[in-house]
């Protein structure tokens, strides 16, 4: 191994890499801009749309209730509701969004209330359609308030206090510190994103430096130099690793900035914005990257090996695209409830790293697992790198035709 030669190969690959527009777009521009645009844009748009839908007067229809003028009169006085005349095709009108909801007032509603009979008021709406849900919510709130007022007047008529129907209250109180709350919600996501991005960031350079070289006819040129195959692989490997890590780092910076902007923009209600205010410290983020480093090495070496086997850029793409699923499945699995670290899972690559990252971000450091996972994933990474070197020494792979 000659470190000078590895450095020369790395420097040349870096120069070419930075001069490739496709690289700059996929590795730098997309990760930097995609998250802010998506998150700030989408949340702002959603806030505006939802706000507008909430402010709009909801058109609703009343089914029946002709004999209950009292409740109908109260309904007509509700500010945010516009009652349209009854029509037999009310269901179709809800589906076609002409009206938001319809309410079925049972026959003899007013008189039944006076007699203390139990009744059911049905509200019809279109599930999944946000404006229809708002209309139904308005109606439900009206009937809830109306019921409460009826209960209050019944209690008053019997000279009973209102707390007789509410002997005690129940309230949930959070004891977890803020970093644990956001850790549970977003911690798994951070590890998952770093793993996935180190994989996707490595795909394009891995193809370009192997199958791309074969396609451009430069593989034979470099093989005719006195450079050893080991130095050649390592030079290329370090470039793929750099691309992989820089994609992950840029994306995480970009994600963090996006969360910050959304959480502090004032566009969202305070309650919703709190969910976007991360309480993940720099040490936790650095620990996640440290844990993901052996995985990034594994990805870089494995992708180089597979892409080298391909004869052309296109063929390499068809080999590597399915690899994303291999990474996504265990990484997603780690986010599911029920997957907790144990000595066996600690040996499963990707899944173990994703699980331990979730714990680290939530502020829990299981040192025995951390060491075991670092060790096992380093062994896998070293094996992948060894195979990559061996593949670069095989004529049948280099000159596959």
């Amino acid at each position: 191994m000659n470190f000078r030669n590895i450095g020369i190969v790395y420097g040349k690959e870096l120069t070419e890499w930075l001069r490739d527009k496709r690289t700059l777009i996929s590795t730098v521009l997309v990760p930097l801009l995609a998250f802010p645009i998506l998150m700030v844009g989408m949340t702002s748009l959603m806030t505006v749309m939802i706000g507008r839908a909430e402010k709009e007067t909801a058109k609703i229809m009343i089914i029946g209730g002709e004999d209950s003028t009292q409740v109908l009169e109260k309904l007509r006085r509700v500010k945010d509701l516009e009652i349209v005349p009854y029509a037999d095709d009310w269901m179709k009108r809800i589906s076609e969004k002409e009206i938001r909801a319809a309410v079925d007032v049972p026959k003899g509603f007013d008189s039944a209330l006076g007699q203390g009979k139990e009744l059911t008021v049905k509200i019809y709406f279109y599930q999944g359609e946000i404006k229809s849900s708002f209309g139904a919510n308005h109606l439900e709130k009206f009937f809830d308030d109306y019921r409460d007022s009826v209960i209050s007047s019944r209690l008053a008529a019997r000279n009973l206090p209102t707390d007789i129907i509410k002997p005690f209250a129940v309230k949930q109180e959070n004891v977890a510190p803020p970093e644990k709350v956001s850790g549970a919600a977003l911690g798994g996501l951070l590890g998952y994103m770093v793993i996935l991005l180190s994989m996707t960031g490595a795909i394009y350079p891995a193809i370009d430096l192997t199958a791309g070289e074969k396609e451009r006819g430069t593989m034979e040129t470099i093989l005719s130099s006195p450079l050893s195959r080991v130095d050649l692989v390592l030079g290329k490997f370090f470039l793929v690793l750099s691309a992989s890590l820089s994609t992950a780092i840029l994306s995480i910076i970009s994600m963090g900035t996006s969360f910050y902007l959304v959480g502090h923009s004032g566009a969202m209600a305070k309650k919703d914005a709190a969910a976007f205010q991360l309480h993940i410290g720099l040490p936790a983020v650095l620990s996640v990257f440290l844990m993901a480093l052996p995985l990034a090495v594994l990805f870089a070496a494995a992708l180089l090996t597979i892409a080298l086997f391909a004869k052309s850029y296109k063929e390499a793409q068809s080999y590597l695209t399915p690899m994303t699923f291999i990474v996504v499945i265990p990484a997603v699995a780690s986010l599911l409830p029920g997957f907790d670290l144990n000595p066996k899972l600690a040996l499963v690559p990707i899944l173990s790293t994703s699980l331990v990252c979730k714990e680290i971000v939530a502020g829990t450091f299981h040192w025995n697992y951390i060491l075991l996972i670092l060790l096992s994933s380093s062994v896998y990474a070293a094996a992948a790198l060894f195979i990559a070197v061996k593949m670069f020494q095989r004529e049948s792979v280099l000159f596959r035709s």
Binding site: I8, V9, K12, T15, E220, S224, S225, P226, L227, E395
Partner: protein, 250 residues
């Protein structure tokens, strides 16, 4: 010097089974000599040259270049060889100068020597007009000159050229041929393959005719002319290879 000793290369093909691309080929080329390999496409010229350049490893036999065995010391062999073939393309996103410097550094040249060497080669090959132009923006002739500069930057004692003038215009081809001749005058051992007989007549000291992986005839141009009773090199090739083609067809 170059010495091929019973060089052989077999490939496995799924459909055709074992293919003997090169079969027991031996020849030598001394410093200050040009040895030309002639033969049809698929005869085994490129595979032979690739084995000499250590890009492929011989299945049997070996070759010794400047005292280094191609199997035992491939990296030392490559340090003594400048190899140019139709398959040795240039890095499109590097400039001509960056590309030549890259190979100079890989050959262990220090920055001072590298600068002198690059300036010298760029002057000799009249390349200063495009030294800062990216390789993907160069014409075919400029690319070939850059490739030659790449093979020469470490001043190797052995040069291997596989069809160096293919696809070039007359003027660029002439520059390359003059250049190869110049390399011989500087005492380099040169082996090259071509389909252009005028180049062979102008340059060659020795030539070998290869067909179906086997070296069927070799010697100096006058020796082969005397042996086959033909002046024209094409006619000599037909006389050497023709009977085998007729047998195969029969």
């Amino acid at each position: 010097m170059i010495e091929a000793r019973s060089l052989s290369k077999r490939f496995q093909d799924k459909k055709r089974g074992e293919i003997r691309a090169v079969d027991n080929v031996s020849f030598t080329c001394q410093p200050g000599e040009i040895y030309s390999l002639l033969g049809a496409n698929g005869a085994g010229k490129t595979t032979t040259l690739r084995m000499l350049a250590t890009i492929l490893e011989p299945t049997d036999g070996t070759a010794v270049i400047c005292g280094h065995d191609v199997i035992e010391e491939p990296e030392k062999v490559r340090a003594n060889v400048g190899f140019l073939s139709t398959a040795t393309a240039l890095y499109p996103r590097l400039t001509a100068q960056e590309l030549v410097e890259y190979f100079g550094r890989l050959n262990g040249l220090d920055e001072l020597t590298l600068k002198k060497r690059v300036d010298d080669i760029f002057n000799r090959l009249d390349m200063n007009g495009f030294r800062d132009r990216r390789c993907d923006k160069l014409s075919t002739g400029m690319k070939q000159k850059t490739s030659i500069a790449r093979t020469l930057v470490h001043d190797p004692p052995v040069m291997i050229f596989d069809e160096p003038t293919t696809g070039l215009d007359v003027m660029t081809a002439r520059t390359i041929i003059t250049f190869i001749s110049d390399c011989r005058d500087r005492g380099k051992a040169i082996i090259f393959s071509t389909h252009i007989m005028s180049e062979v007549e102008r340059l060659c000291d020795h030539l070998g005719i290869i067909h179906d992986g086997k070296l069927l005839a070799h010697g100096t141009v006058p020796e082969l002319r005397a042996k086959y009773g033909e002046h024209n090199l094409e006619e000599i090739i037909v006389k050497v290879v023709g009977p085998l083609l007729n047998n195969a067809e029969a």
